[in-house]
Symmetry: C2
Subunit: 351 residues, 2 copies
Amino acid sequence: MEKRATIKDVAEAAGVGIATVSRVLSGGSASPGTRERVLAVAAQLDYRPSAAGRNLRQRRTGGLGLLVPDLTDTFFGLLAEGVLAHARSAGEPVVLGSTGDDPEQESEMVGMLLEQGVDRVVAVPSGDAESWRPAVRAGMTVVFADRLPGESPDQDAEGPDHDLMLLDGLPPAPPARPLDTPAVLADDRSGIRTAVRYLKGLGHRRIAYLGGPGHERRVAAFREAVGAPVDEELIVFATGSRDSAYAAAAGLFQSRPDLSAVVAGGNALGEAAVLAARELDLRVPRDVSLVMYDDVPWAELCSPPLTVIAQPGREIGYRAAELVLRAGARRPRTVVLPTELIVRGSCGPHR
Amino acid sequence: MEKRATIKDVAEAAGVGIATVSRVLSGGSASPGTRERVLAVAAQLDYRPSAAGRNLRQRRTGGLGLLVPDLTDTFFGLLAEGVLAHARSAGEPVVLGSTGDDPEQESEMVGMLLEQGVDRVVAVPSGDAESWRPAVRAGMTVVFADRLPGESPDQDAEGPDHDLMLLDGLPPAPPARPLDTPAVLADDRSGIRTAVRYLKGLGHRRIAYLGGPGHERRVAAFREAVGAPVDEELIVFATGSRDSAYAAAAGLFQSRPDLSAVVAGGNALGEAAVLAARELDLRVPRDVSLVMYDDVPWAELCSPPLTVIAQPGREIGYRAAELVLRAGARRPRTVVLPTELIVRGSCGPHR
DNA sequence: CTTCTCCATGGAAACGATTCCATCATGCTT
DNA sequence: AAGCATGATGGAATCGTTTCCATGGAGAAG
C-alpha cells in the first residue's frame, strides 16, 4: 500500500525541477541528457502521472462516456466493444452506464458523467431530444449511436411558434432544429426496404413489423416499403423489456393469424418472435417468415437459422468513438453505415 | 459552453466562505439557516462539485473498474449489468475495459486504471496470479468474478522454498499464497457434477468436456465427476476466440465419433458445439447430447432448446461490486453462488 | 460577573499536475 | 569583443476541492 510516486519525487531523484519532468513526459523540449535521465528515473520509480492532478489543471477530464440501454443485448455489447477498441487505441478510459432504456436513469447518468468531468459521450439515447439539451448546453460533446433521440413531444407546438414568428415579421427561422448532434447510424431505410422487397418477392403480402423503442426511422422505412394501404394493425411496438417484446409478438400472432411474414426491428424482438411463434405452434418459415434486424452470433444457432439484416455494430461504436474524440474544428456530420441482408433459413415462399 | 459554477461561486452568491459550502454539501455541521441558503444557491446555480478537485484533495478517485474479456459474450454482459446496478445504487461511476482474454491488454488496462486513480476493480481475470500481484501491491482492491487467475507457473518452486524455510528454523509459513484476493464464483464443482450425473443417468459413458480459458475448477470437477479412468482425449480446450472454440469442437467430434455427450464449459463453447455438430450432421440430442454452462437468453431459441447449467451472472457481478465497494474492515472471503441444472431438450438417452 | 465550553464560520494549506515567465548559459552575428 | 537570439531550466501560480486551525460569539457553569 505504498503511496505512488509523484512528479516531485521524480524531480528530486533526477536532480531537476518538476517543470522539466513535466516537459519531458509530455513531449516538450529538453536536452537529450536530461530527458534520458528523467525517463530512467521515472521508469525506475514506476511513476504514473495522476489523472486527478492533470484534469484539475487543464479543466477537462480525458475519457469518454458510453451510455447504452442494456449490455445484455448482444448488439449493444458489440457496439460497446467498438467504442472500447477505439478508446484503447486513443489511450482514453471509458466510463460506462447502462440506462435500461429509461430516460430518467439516462439523465441521471449524464449528470454523473458531467460531475466526473467526462465531457464526451457516445450514447444510444433513450430520452427525447429535449432531455438531451441540458447535456449539450453544459458543454458536452455528444455523439449518438444506433438511434436518434425521439422527436420531442412539443412537435405540435411548432406550428403556433411558426405563426408567431411570421406575425413578428421575423424570418421564419428553422423551427428549433431538434439537436445538431452528430450520429452514427445504420442505413435503416435501405435495410428495411431490402428486407421488405425480399419478402414481397417471396409472395408475402401481409407483412408485420415488430418495433422497439427509438427507431422511428425503421418504422417509417417499413411504411414506405410496404406501400400504399398500410395495415396499421400489423405494426406493433414493445418497450425495451423482454416481457414486453414477447407480449407484443404473441399478441400480434394471435390477433392477426392471417399475417405471413414478420420483420423484427431488433434482436430482442426477433428473439421474442421466435419464442412466441413456437409457443403458438407456428412453424418458421412454413407458417410465418421472419426477418430480424441485427446479425447476432446466435442467429445462426436457431433452426432454421435466422435471415437477418446485418448492421455493423462494432463499427458503429468505433466510428462514434472516433467522432466524439476528434470533435474539433468542423462539426462532423452524421455517418450512415451500410446494412446487408443475410439470407439464411427463416423465410420461405408464401403459401 | 458556459463554464461550470465552482464552489467559490456558490460561496460568494450565498455570502459565506467556501469552507462552509463544502461542509454543507458533504453533510458537515452548519446552522439551519446557512445550510438552507447554501443549498438553495447551489441548486439555483446548478452547482456540481468537480470530481477532479475532490479526487486530488483526498488522493483517491471514487469509482470502480470493471475488466471483462469480451462484452460480446452474453454472460459477461449480464455480469456487467450486475456490477453497474450496484455501482449506480452506490453512486459510483464505472470505468470499463475489455481485455480480449489477453493478459497483456489486461495489465495495460490495470495500468490505466491506476493512472486514473481507480483503485477498486472487479475483474474477470485473464492473466495469472503473478500478473495481478503488481496491481494489488500498488494498493488496488481487486475482486475477481467468475474466474480465478490461473495458478502461477512458479508453483514448482514452492517445494524448495518450503525446505529452505525449514532449514532456517522459521515456522513453515504458508507457501506464498497465490493471492489473498476475494472472489465471487459460481459453484462450478456442483454444477458440473450435477450435469455429469444427469448425463450418466441417461446412460452416457463417453462424455467429453469442451473448455475455455480460466476455468481450471470446472475441468477438475469434470475429471472428478466422470470418475476413475479419465479419457484425456475427451477433454479439449479452446482459447477465447470464436474460431478457436469452433475448431476445438469440430476437432473433438471428428477425432472421437464414439462420444455420446458433451459438456461445454461456457456459452461460447456451447455455441461452437451446436455449430460444429450441425456442420458434421450430428443431430442433437439423437446423435450427441449437449449440456452448456451459462444460461443465456438464446439457449431457449435453439432447437432443441439447450439444457444448461445456469449460474447467476447478474448476481455474481452485483456481489462482486458490493465486495469491492465495502472492502473495509474485515477482508471478505470468497463468495460461491449456487448453480442450477435447467433441463430443456438437448440431452437424450444414450443409444 | 467571569471563565469555560461549544459551535458556526472563514482563512489558508494541501493535493499533483501543467504552464507562464524569468533566468541563465551558450553560441552566433556584426 | 559585445550584443543578441536561442534553448534549457526552475520557480511559482493555478485549477477546485477538503480539511485543519484560529477566531469570535453565545450560552452555561461557577
